[in-house]
Amino acid sequence: SASGNNVLVLLDNTAMQQSYSLFFNQLKDRGYKLNFFSAEDPSLTLTEYGEYLYDHLIIFAPTVEEFGGLVDVPSILDFIDEGHNVLLAGDSTVSDLSREIASECGIEFDDEGTYVLDHFHSGQSDVADHTTVSISTSEDTMLQEPVITGSKRQSDRKPVLFKGIAHTIKEGNGLNIAILRGYDTTYSSNPYEPIKATSTSIMGSNTILVSALQARNNARVVVSGSIQMFSDRYFTSSSDNEYLTAEISKWCFKERGILRAHNLTHHRIGETEPPQMYRVRDEITYSVVIEEFDGKQWIPFQSHNVQLEFTMLDPYVRTFLKPSTRGLYTATFTVPDVYGVYSFKVNYHQIGYSTLSLKTIQSVRPFRHDEYERFIKTANPYYTSCISMLVGVFVLFVFLLFTK
C-alpha cells in the first residue's frame, strides 16, 4: 500500500478470524500485517507516544457497544482526520457505536432490526426469508469505476451476496461514493413485522449496500452494510464476493487510485528557467509529471481531462494538459493582457482517485517603456491632428499679421 502495511482488525469475537479467514488471508498475501483484537480488549490503543501504530483499521464488530482501551469514536475520527483508512462492516444488529462512526462519514444506517430485502433477487440461504440478496453487478447496481471495483469484465462477474442493513448517503456531495446499491425492487424493512406505509423510506436504487467516503485529506472509509459479505461462506458459494471485496479493499487501503505530482516546471518557450516575472503576452509552457500507484510502484498516470488554470481571482486561461506516455503533462498558452499576481492551479478530482491540488504563484508585469513600438500605427490620426493644429496656429498667425 502507498501508506503503510499495519492494519488493526477489531472483531466481535476472536472466532471470526476463522470464519473470515479467506478475506484476511488475501490481505496478508498482499503484504499487510494484520493485528487481530477483540473489540472490547482493554489494551486497545491506536497511538503510542503520539504516533499512530497502525495505518489502516478494519472494524468487523457490528454488535459491540463500546470499544475497549483507548479506542473510541473521537479517536477513530482523529485517525481518519490524519489521513488513515477505515473499513467498517455493519449488520442488521449494528450498534450505536458503528452508527455514530458511519454518520460522521455521511452514511446513515437504517433502523435496527431492518434488513435489505428483495423478493426478486434473493440468494440462497437456509431460511427462506429473502434477507439474503444477490446483486448482479451491472451498471444499475455497481459503480462502474475500475479503480474501485476492479477491471474484471461484466460478463465474467458473478452476482454478489449480501445480507445486512441498508444505508443512505447524500450522493452528489463530491465526497461520498455509492459502490453497490440495490435494484429498483430492493427495499429495507424488518421482515418479521408487518409492513406499514411508514415502514421505510429507503427503497429502490437509494438502498445503498456498500459505499465509501474519500475525505478531503484523501482518507478513505468504506462502509458495508453486511459483514457476512466478507465471510468464507459467501466467498465459497459461487459468488463474486471474493473478487469484489478484494478490489474494494485495495482501493480502501490506498493501493490504487493514488496520484502524486512532481517536477513542476514552467518557463517561456525557448528558455529553461522561469524569469522572476512573466510579461504580459508572453508565450509560456507549463509541465508536470503525474504518477499513480498501482499496488507496488508508481507508474505514469494517463488521463485526458487534467486541467490547468491560470488564475487571478478569475481564471483567465483554462486549458487541458496534454498527456504523454511518460506521465508528463504539458500545456502552452499566452499570458493574458492583464498584469498582476496569477497562480497556476491544477485541481484534479476524479471519482476513485485522490485529489491533486497544485498551486504556484507567479507575477506578471506590464510592458516596459522600451518594449512598446515607438509610434503606434492606430494613433496616426491623433499625431497628425496635434501637428496640424500647431501648423495651423502658425499659418493663421502669419495671415493675421499681414491682412488688414
Binding site: 503606434i376 492606430t378 494613433a379 490620426p381 491623433y382 499625431y383 491632428s385 496635434c386 496640424s388 493644429m389 500647431l390 495651423g392 496656429v393 493663421l396 498667425f397 495671415f399 493675421l400 499679421l401 491682412t403 488688414k404
Partner: protein, 117 residues
C-alpha cells in the same frame, strides 16, 4: 407648417447675408480656421468611436488639441472684434491678443506633445 418653413428660410438668409457683409476680413479668416479645427475634432472622435481608443493617451492628446485650439482662437476672435470695443464687453487689444494667443498655443501644444506618447 409652411409659414414656419418660410420664416426659418428667411431668417437663415438674413443671418448669412449680414454675416458675409458686415464681418471684417480678419474675423472671417479666423472663422474659417475655427471651422477647420472643429472638423478635425469631429473626425478624430468618429475615428476613436469606430476603431477604438487604443492608445488612450494619444486619443486624448489629439482630441484635446482641437478643443484647446478652438477655445483659444474663439477668445482671440473676441479680442479682435471691433464691435466688442464699442460695447465694452471685452477689451479690444489686437496686438496683445495675438501675442497671448500664440504663446498660449505653444505652451498648450508642448504639454500635448509630451502626452502624445
Amino acid at each position: 407648417m409652411t409659414d414656419i418653413r418660410k420664416l426659418s428660410i428667411e431668417i437663415y438668409k438674413k443671418v448669412s447675408n449680414d454675416y458675409v457683409q458686415t464681418t471684417p476680413k480678419k474675423l472671417k479668416l479666423i472663422d474659417v480656421y475655427l471651422f477647420y479645427v472643429a472638423l478635425t475634432g469631429v473626425i478624430q472622435l468618429l475615428y476613436a468611436i469606430r476603431v477604438g481608443s487604443f492608445p488612450f493617451n494619444s486619443f486624448l492628446s489629439g482630441f484635446i488639441s482641437t478643443i484647446g485650439s478652438f477655445v483659444l482662437t474663439v477668445s482671440l476672435r473676441m479680442h479682435l472684434n471691433p464691435k466688442n470695443a464699442e460695447k465694452e464687453r471685452v477689451p479690444y487689444r489686437p496686438e496683445r491678443a495675438i501675442a497671448d494667443w500664440l504663446f498660449c498655443n505653444i505652451i498648450f501644444h508642448f504639454t500635448l506633445f509630451s502626452f502624445l506618447g
